[in-house]
């Protein structure tokens, strides 16, 4: 899809649901100036703007990927609301010098920082590349995009959700085996 083309809201949503990563750029282009204006006028810098933009668009992507997501306002309004909340939390965090990760709380994912040391993404990518393209897609759709099994079945042309479950199990098993062959999991998990 041509980037400079004006994309309608429905085009963007459809693009995200089809996994078209160009939509990230479209969202960035269309909403940058608005978020920039807000963050800069609220004691932020250009670096802060870029951080907020990334967080906001990734959060929107995850939400829009879900089957039950319904857009009740303009995308720009939705993004702006996320950006405002995101930036205010960052400001509060800086003020109070708190260490909790607001973003992960936003996503509703429980995480115990004491037990898990996340692996460097670039390193983990090398392991992911070894499990095959279908497994990569399936696992990232489930664990990053938060898509349900039915949506994944439709996206990857699986006959039903049972196939998705079985395939997911196989892929995870394969991934864990490759990881354990290369790394010591105790180095990452206490």
């Amino acid at each position: 899809m041509v980037l400079w083309q004006l994309n309608s809201e429905q085009d963007i949503l459809a693009g995200i649901r089809e996994g078209d990563e160009q939509m990230l750029k479209v969202l960035y282009r269309q909403n940058y100036s608005m978020v920039r204006k807000y963050v800069i006028s609220n004691s932020g810098t250009l670096d802060d703007v870029n951080d907020v933009m990334q967080d906001v668009i990734i959060a929107f992507w995850k939400n829009a990927s879900k089957r039950d997501f319904k857009l009740t306002a303009k995308i720009s309004t939705y993004l702006m609301a996320i950006a405002k909340r995101n930036w205010l939390k960052k400001l509060n965090k800086n003020t109070r010098n708190q260490s909790h990760d607001f973003q992960n709380n936003d996503m509703g994912i429980m995480q115990d920082d004491k037990k898990i040391n996340a692996m460097d993404a670039a390193t983990f990518r090398t392991i992911m590349n070894e499990v095959g393209e279908t497994c990569q897609q399936l696992l990232s759709l489930f664990y990053f995009d938060g898509m349900d099994n039915k949506s994944i079945a439709e996206r990857l042309n699986f006959s039903n959700t049972d196939v998705v479950k079985a395939k997911k199990y196989q892929c995870l098993k394969k991934l864990k085996i490759i990881f354990e062959q290369k790394y010591n999991k105790e180095d990452f998990i206490n």
């Binding site: 990563e21 750029k25 940058y32 990734i58």
Partner: protein
């Protein structure tokens, strides 16, 4: 320990908040009491977190590349592009302005390039001038022949014209404002005038063109003539008489002026006070714009057309295009037309 399918389903349900309170409490107590299950859960959590982080990191790279390269005005290249575009636009506008200042007729030539006729442009340029157009049809029966000498304007010879045109012709000598001319059947209606906005035609005359033969300027001088000769031999005779009255001249000076075909001259008053000429390609019509004096003499010398107005000589281009006055200042040449 290898995770079972059921355990993985349970872990995912817990991590995605898909368990109810009872299931959640039961699972958490199971984790507390079963170390193997806890290890298995932690490893699963680590792997799934790493999967999510990997894709998020890829997305952030895409967005980062976007913020660095894509925004005009928000990055170095964008600023450079904006500045360059502004400079180009300024240069373009300056070039247009300079062209216009150098050549007041620039708009017309520009319009010609864009395949608009000059007259269309004139209409556009003067659309707001609220001038009324008076276009006079030349009545063949009312053709006027005028001859101009060095300083004197000879009156038009009487012609068998209509009474309306006779009245008009007598008024033409002093006319400055077309509104003072009474309307007659040769003029267009007032309704039509409001629809056509261009320069005002002051006067139309038909007169003869004088051909001047090529003369070697170094050896011969041309004797000034006070009238237009219709007869070559008479012209020679008069020239000789004038020569005789010129003291100190030893060379024989010949001036031969041959009356050629006639030309229609139209005098226009221009709202923007520009001056110029438009000689038709067939050399049969000459339009004169913006000159106060509404009399002119047309000459041909070495196949080129010249016009003399108010004792000043201008060269003409027979291309049917409006051109600025090109004043001839070379004394040797101007003497030929005296």
């Amino acid at each position: 320990m290898e995770s079972s399918k059921e355990n993985i389903a349970k872990f995912d349900a817990y991590l995605n908040h898909q368990m109810n309170e009872e299931e959640k409490l039961f699972f958490e107590s199971e984790l507390l009491h079963n170390k193997a299950l806890q290890e298995e859960f932690n490893f699963h959590n680590f792997i799934t977190q790493s999967i999510a982080n990997e894709k998020e990191d890829r997305f952030r790279e895409i967005l980062k590349s976007q913020q660095e390269n894509s925004y005009i005005g928000n990055n170095t290249w964008g600023k450079k592009f904006t500045i360059a575009a502004s400079i180009i636009m300024l240069l373009g506008l300056s070039a247009l302005l300079i062209s216009y200042l150098k050549d007041p007729d620039f708009a017309k030539t520009f319009a010609k390039k864009t395949k608009k006729t000059a007259q269309d442009t004139m209409v556009i340029l003067k659309k707001d001038s609220a001038k009324i157009v008076v276009k006079e049809n030349l009545n063949p029966a009312a053709e006027v022949t005028l001859s101009e000498t060095e300083n004197n304007l000879l009156p038009s010879p009487p012609t068998p014209e209509s009474s309306a045109f006779e009245k008009r012709a007598s008024a033409e000598n002093n006319i400055e404002d077309i509104e003072s001319i009474p309307f007659n059947e040769t003029e267009i209606s007032r309704k039509d005038k409001e629809n056509i906005l261009t320069e005002i035609l002051i006067k139309t005359v038909k007169q003869e063109v004088i051909i001047i033969p090529k003369i070697n300027l170094e050896q011969q001088k041309l004797v000034p003539k006070s009238t237009v000769d219709r007869d070559v031999s008479a012209s020679d005779k008069k020239a000789d008489n004038n020569l005789g009255s010129t003291k100190g001249d030893t060379q024989k000076i010949k001036a031969i002026k041959v009356i050629s075909k006639s030309i229609i001259i139209e005098f226009f008053k221009t709202p923007l006070n520009y001056q110029g000429f438009n000689l038709a390609e067939n050399n049969e019509t000459l339009k004169i714009y913006g000159f106060e004096k509404n009399t002119a003499m047309v000459f041909i010398y070495e196949n080129l057309h010249y016009v003399k107005i108010d004792n000043k000589l201008y060269s003409l281009l027979s291309n049917g295009i409006f051109s600025k006055p090109n004043l001839i200042t070379n004394i040797e040449i101007t003497k030929l037309f005296e």
